[in-house]
């Protein structure tokens, strides 16, 4: 008998080859080198990768959690993994003040009032997604439950749905609150099932029109390729007919004889399994329509469904995929990519995948997986191999500067230009998560433009239309006794980054602030008034503020 809790060995030949190829590929890409980026304290890594960067006071609070970095990190991880234990009253009050009307609605209410209601207006359709967007931004900036926000962003991208279509927009509160957030520290199989039966996904990947007579493979294909096994476990187009004419899955098998890779035939069979998975257009609930379901037996990954199993056919496929070792590795590699580095060391991927696999029945499977990753030596040993994406960039900037933030259309316009507009990625693979994708000219330039817009006079003082909503008051945060260019730069380095700057950055910033004066002498107050916000803007444009 095989031990069912041990993660089966890595697959040969194809996925292993792909993993190796990938490792090789990225090892050839230029790395950040020692003198330009050095490893920060684990506390700083934690605040930047388990959350959207430190707010003033966060580093001190984290430091008070233990006597050394290991103890602090452990305490912080446990705190963040138990979000209900964290007092989040400030953020809750801010959210309450927004007077959102859709965030508390049930799945059925959302459907009936924002999707199918007679004469529903475009604004009403969009209201659930628009309110979710605003709430998500506020939480990313103000919530103390930062890890939840990072993971919500991860899972929204993993189970990507374009949020601004008729069906998804009106039900988005359900998708965000119940499907994504409701499961992100829970069990993957449960989340997968909730996704599969959500209106957002059923319409986005066309499964609502998948019938026995006219199969639509869109959902089934992305279920394999993006949601569970991943392309790294795809063998391609291949036959299931063996030399003697019997069924023979061509992929290598595990000890139980289960194929470790999938082929197109698996997708076609799975497509049949999901026929009839729909939404009840009156209630908005999931509905299984037996009359369009393929009733005969189907073989997926060499396992046959009993004929006439109805809705259980689809559940069977989800069971199979959620419990597959390839899913464990693919998911954990993605999580490590988000939480550690673009190309995470295989050791931590394997360690996390082992937990994912052995705990696949546990109600807190994902919490255990995330804990494994965050408390790994790899987590605290890696830096500068990721660039903040626009969401992390923007939120970390607003957090670090103690900005008074509220949503506005002009903010949204500026944010969207950075290239990561919320719930707006149309293909099903979610926003890319590699530095190459975010460090070409346009994304780089848009960061600088964003800083320049933010540090414009209207948002740091003055009487602009958004004076009560978006303000970064740099001047009042600078202690009165700090007056030389060098001291001002050193103060803001600690204040924004929690550590000192590399020499090249420090020198350039001091030169900017000094404006030709002696950097060690007190600057005239007028010069500090004039230049300080542009200096802070430069901090946000600096290399040190881009790494993750």
């Amino acid at each position: 008998m095989t031990d069912n809790s041990q993660l089966p060995g890595t697959v040969e030949p194809r996925s292993a080859q792909r993993v190796a190829e990938r490792a090789l590929q990225w090892s050839r890409v230029g790395r950040a080198v020692g003198e330009e980026v050095d490893l920060p304290a684990p506390e700083i890594i934690a605040l930047n990768r388990m959350g959207f960067g430190p707010r003033p006071g966060d580093l001190e609070a984290l430091s008070a959690l233990g006597s050394d970095s290991t103890a602090r990190l452990q305490a912080y991880v446990d705190q963040q993994l138990n979000p209900e234990s964290i007092d989040d009253s400030t953020c809750d009050a801010l959210l309450a003040a927004q007077a959102f009307v859709t965030l508390g609605k049930s799945r059925q209410q959302l459907w009936q009032e924002h999707v199918v209601k007679e004469g529903v207006t475009w604004e009403e359709r969009m209201q659930p997604v628009a309110e979710t967007l605003r709430a998500t931004f506020l939480r990313a900036i103000y919530s103390k439950r930062q890890l939840v926000e990072v993971l919500a962003d991860f899972w929204h991208n993993h189970f990507n749905v374009y949020g601004w279509d008729s069906w998804s927009a009106g039900t988005w509160v359900h998708y965000d609150r119940d499907v994504v957030r409701g499961n992100l520290l829970g069990n993957f199989r449960q989340m997968l099932g909730a996704v599969a039966q959500s209106a957002a996904m059923l319409y986005y990947l066309d499964n609502v029109s998948n019938t026995s007579a006219g199969p639509n493979e869109n959902y089934a294909r992305e279920l394999f390729e993006l949601h569970t096994l991943g392309a790294e476990n795809y063998l391609g187009v291949a036959s299931i007919v063996g030399p003697d004419g019997q069924y023979l899955h061509p992929a290598p098998k595990d000890a139980n004889g289960h194929p470790l890779l999938y082929i197109d035939e698996d997708i076609y069979a799975a497509t049949q399994c999901f026929t009839g998975w729909r939404i009840n257009t009156e209630s908005g609930d999931f509905q299984f329509v037996d009359s369009v379901h393929a009733k005969y037996s189907k073989i997926v990954l060499a396992q046959a469904t009993p004929s006439g199993a109805g809705v259980q056919d689809g559940e069977f496929v989800l069971d199979l995929l959620a419990a597959h070792p390839g899913t464990a590795r693919y998911l954990c590699r993605k999580l490590c990519r988000r939480l550690i580095a673009d190309d995470p060391p295989e050791a931590i991927v394997e360690a996390a995948a082992a937990v994912f696999y052995s705990q696949r029945e546990a109600p807190d499977q994902l919490k255990q997986v995330v804990r494994t990753i965050l408390l790994s030596p790899e987590f605290r040993a890696t830096w500068g191999e990721k660039i903040k994406r626009p969401l992390e960039y923007t939120c970390s900037l607003l957090r670090a500067s103690g900005a008074n933030f509220a949503w506005s259309d002009s903010f949204r316009y500026r944010y969207d230009a950075l290239g990561q507009a919320f719930y707006s990625w149309r293909p099903p693979d979610g926003y890319p998560d590699r530095k190459e994708e975010w460090s070409s000219t346009m994304p780089m330039l848009q960061r600088w433009r964003f800083c320049n817009w933010l540090m414009d006079g209207w948002r740091v003082g003055g009487e602009g239309a958004d004076k009560d909503t978006l303000r970064i008051d740099c001047r009042s945060q600078l202690p009165a006794h700090i007056t030389s260019a060098a001291a001002i730069v050193d103060f803001w380095a600690q204040r924004l980054l929690g550590r000192s700057l590399p020499a090249a950055e420090r020198g350039a910033l001091i030169e900017f602030m000094a404006g030709g004066r002696n950097p060690e002498n007190s600057l005239p107050a007028s010069q500090i008034d004039e230049r300080l916000r542009f200096l802070v803007g430069l901090f946000f444009m600096a290399p040190s503020f881009q790494w993750r």
């Binding site: 792909r18 190829e21 090789l24 590929q25 890409v29 230029g30 790395r31 950040a32 080198v33 330009e36 066309d206 029109s209 998948n210 019938t211 007579a213 006219g214 199969p215 639509n216 493979e217 869109n218 294909r221 390729e225 392309a231 795809y234 391609g236 187009v237 291949a238 197109d264 660039i387 290239g419 149309r426 293909p427 693979d429 890319p432 530095k435 460090s439 070409s440 000219t441 346009m442 994304p443 780089m444 330039l445 600088w448 433009r449 320049n452 414009d456 090249a504 950055e505 350039a508 910033l509 030169e511 900017f512 404006g515 030709g516 230049r531 542009f534 430069l538 444009m541 290399p543 790494w547």
Partner: protein, 446 residues
Amino acid sequence: MFKPSRRGFLVGCSAAIATWASGLSFTAFGSAGTEPNQEILVVVFLRGGVDGLNIVLPIAGEDRAHYEARRPRLAVPLTGANAALPLDARLGLHPGATALYGLYQEQKLAIVHAAGLTSDTRSHFDAMQFMELGTPDSKSSTTGWLTRHLRSASNLPASLIVPALAVGNLQPSSLLGNRQSIGMTTPNDFNFGGHWEFGDWQRVALRKMYDGSSWLHQAALQTMDALDVVERANPGTYAPGNGAVYPNGSFGRSLQTVAQVIRMQLGLQVATLDLGGWDTHEYQGDGGTGYLSDKLKELGQGIEALLLDLSNDNGTDHTRRLTVVVMSEFGRSFQENASRGTDHGHGNIMLVAGGAVNGGRVHGEWPGLATDQLYDRRDLAITTDYRRVLSEILIRRLGNPQLGAVFPGYRSYTPLGVVQGTDLNPDYTEATPAPSQRIYLPAVQN
């Protein structure tokens, strides 16, 4: 208090750029006729897998019968207001593609059918990677095919300012590893947007802060270089030539950006842009109407406008050195699905437009549509490797025979005759070319 002696863009840039920038003209290389980059390749990628079988479709014979049987609702009719536009005796064009039809009749458009990526995959993401990296079945390359073209071509001038342009927010895989390509949505948004007094000082500081060798430092420096160049060259408002009208939407804007950069004469060699929305699993339009028809209008009108615009830049016809190739990751299933759409398939069309194409013809061997002629008994087969078409453009138009470098593993190239030009013996040496030592954008010199 002192100020930078010139605008920020001159700080830290190379002598070549400074010389160029101090000139009176916005033209980098004198007149268009003497600009060194005689040939420009524009690659339009149709993301999502375009349904080539409903764009160029059988209008006669047995295949017409197969087509009508497999696509009872989607089939483009032979008569009536939405009748197929005849291309030759066998094949017709979707009625939404009237602009493309006009180009075809003027012999500015060539069509290749049953072309594509021969890898056994129906995954969007794998197929796009394989195609754009130029390495079917492998995603391990750190460079895209266009990057390797730019590195291996021996006929490029010693100094180019903007050799490669990726229109849009993100860089495509075809330009992976190319540090000289710049990305932009439009030149008008391509500026620093800094404060009138301190913006230049900030740029001085940025140059110094990013004076380093990491991927991030290099990316930022390149961005600053591109900013310097484009800000300087951008004429501000843009008036398309010949009264060309680009279609509304981001595709039309992207094409106009390509035209604008070509007319800035910064030495552009290759440009990439995308048109998405082809993953038509549902309601793609029955009988030659609907969604696909609208998409084809956008595609056709865009290419038509680009050619029209560039055919008269104050008397210069840029289209004679312009080749536009349109490709997609795969075609779609021959059988329509129950949602009046089509699923992921295999063989597909490629379109090649420009001033030096053998237009007005459908190239390539037609494999037939009987079930046993189909790939996997399901999709249009591939008789022309997409690399063959691109190789012909590389050799005949761009004058680069280094096929081994650009498409490692690809052998036995013969021209299909899609474009005009001189044949060169292909060189299959696979040595991956190192990043070029040519001067592209200026290196930072402190």
